[in-house]
């Protein structure tokens, strides 16, 4: 069992959400459960297990409630889900998830393509979700996070204004967010930019900045992860085998690879609480469940370095 005292960097597995929404096949509910259980067995303490979306928008998430219920039965796991709108968030609350993440895209063009709303409209939706959460009866109080999408650049709009990112972060916190995360939806970030924007955002919202969500479009995912950690990040999203990419951001390829990230961090002496050997067993589950998808990852190819001890 990992406690926060045992961990320097929290890795949140997003493959079941960000990864599966771009997979060629739909993963069975049984495979999702097996993946989640194996990841938890490996020591993973945060998983974004699904999204609450209409089936006609993203297929393969019809089993969201069942996947959440299974995840909540695992011990020491923060169970988060993505929801693009109020109804999805309400359903997520109904499933008693620990955290709901709403995408608030800095780029209006991406936001319209992704959720058919402008950034301002999404902030308003975000406020309504927070209000609904605050009106929940009983002890259940889910965390709500704003995923600041396209924070580092957009395949449609190109460069994104840092001021817009900071303003949006502050607006989300004022609307009731527990946390914000800087998301490189399109994989456009470079390490210097990650450092700068992380520090600037930290200066605005302090501990409410919860980490970074990175993609590997230009092979910079791990460089950006290192830069974020140097800038003070203690939480990173990643996807096992590098599955993923936003279907509404053309050209955006997979997330950073969980197992390669664990290797980098542990090699640097940063504790993730994750047993790499156990984690690698997730690969067999995914390979079998998604036979037509490419599984990425250097660690699988190269094996652990000689003398590597974690």
């Amino acid at each position: 069992m990992n406690t926060s005292a045992d961990i320097d960097i929290t890795i949140c597995e997003v493959g079941l959400r960000d990864g599966l929404q771009n997979a060629k096949n739909v993963m069975t509910t049984a495979a999702k459960k097996a993946w989640i259980s194996q990841a938890v067995k490996a020591g993973m303490c945060a998983i974004e297990v699904c999204s609450f979306v209409p089936p006609k928008v993203i297929r393969g998430m019809e089993d969201a409630k069942e996947v959440v219920a299974h995840s909540l039965s695992e011990k020491n796991l923060e169970v988060s889900v993505l929801s693009p709108n109020f109804r999805g968030a309400e359903n997520a609350f109904g499933s008693l998830v620990d955290k709901v993440i709403l995408p608030v895209s800095i780029s209006d063009s991406h936001s319209r393509a992704n959720v058919r709303k402008t950034r301002a409209e999404m902030i308003e939706d975000f406020r309504q979700v927070c209000d609904a959460r605050d009106q929940l009866e009983g002890e259940y109080r889910p965390l709500i996070e704003a995923g600041l999408a396209t924070a580092f650049g957009c395949t449609i709009e190109g460069k994104i204004s840092e001021r817009d990112v900071l303003e949006t972060a502050v607006a989300c916190i004022e609307a009731g967010a527990d946390s914000v995360i800087l998301a490189d939806t399109c994989g456009y970030a470079n390490p210097k930019q990650v450092q700068r924007l992380f520090k600037l955002t930290k200066a605005e919202v302090d501990d409410a900045l919860n980490g970074v969500h990175l993609h590997n479009t230009y092979g910079l995912g791990l460089a950006n992860a290192f830069a974020a950690i140097e800038a003070g990040a203690t939480r990173l999203d990643s996807s096992f085998a590098g599955l993923g990419g936003c279907p509404f951001a053309p050209g955006a390829s997979g997330n950073i690879v969980t197992e390669d990230l664990v290797h980098m961090l542990e090699a640097q002496g940063l504790r993730t609480g994750i047993d790499i050997g156990e984690l690698m067993h997730c690969r067999e589950i995914i390979k079998q469940a998604l036979p037509n998808d490419t599984l990425y990852g250097f660690l699988e190819e190269a094996g652990l370095p000689k003398g590597f001890v974690i």
Copy 2:
């Protein structure tokens, strides 16, 4: 034409040496010349064009003299070569190269596998090469660099002592080296380690530390490059399309990808002097010359980001 005042980071293309020694096919001399000329046209100002080795040890380098002669006919190009021994260095001097790099492996096991000599014996060889250089008549005085191989770890020995790296760096400078370079021959380095060892070595040999030579075995090549630059490095080796890997370090895969490195640096506002569009034309030359080799690279796959200006 690039002058050092126009450039923040010098990239040295090593694909023609490190890359070709692992290629499935032998590249024709004409293709090598075309690659070199195209790289220079793109603004590249340093290329390790070949190695001076016995043909029975590494095939495909029989045209070393002709390749060097062609390279020397290009303007504004530092022409360097690798040589594993005294005889190769003498031949390189005879070709009037600008710089000779000798591998001095920190790991005795790797050194024996690579050049059949211990580290101490290689340092002694290195001294003899420097002495021979000092005895050259006329104005020609090539630079001599020690490539500190396996500086970050070894596939045979595992962990490498930093003290050994520092002692070897100093010994090479005392033997007459103009410069040393820290080489992650096996791709074992992590970003923190790169930062630490670069700074430690810099403290010992100051400006004689010339940069880093990185591999991408664990997908950490660009993260390590970023870390090296943060630590003060101004010169990086890389290989177009990520060709390469040491044939005597089992499991060591390709170098970091030149075009992806250029993209990362330019995205960060660091000037490489290289025109990415022109550089990408090297791909056609290599593809045609090495039809059976995998060409790596994210930039080729993703294209330049929207709004990217260099």
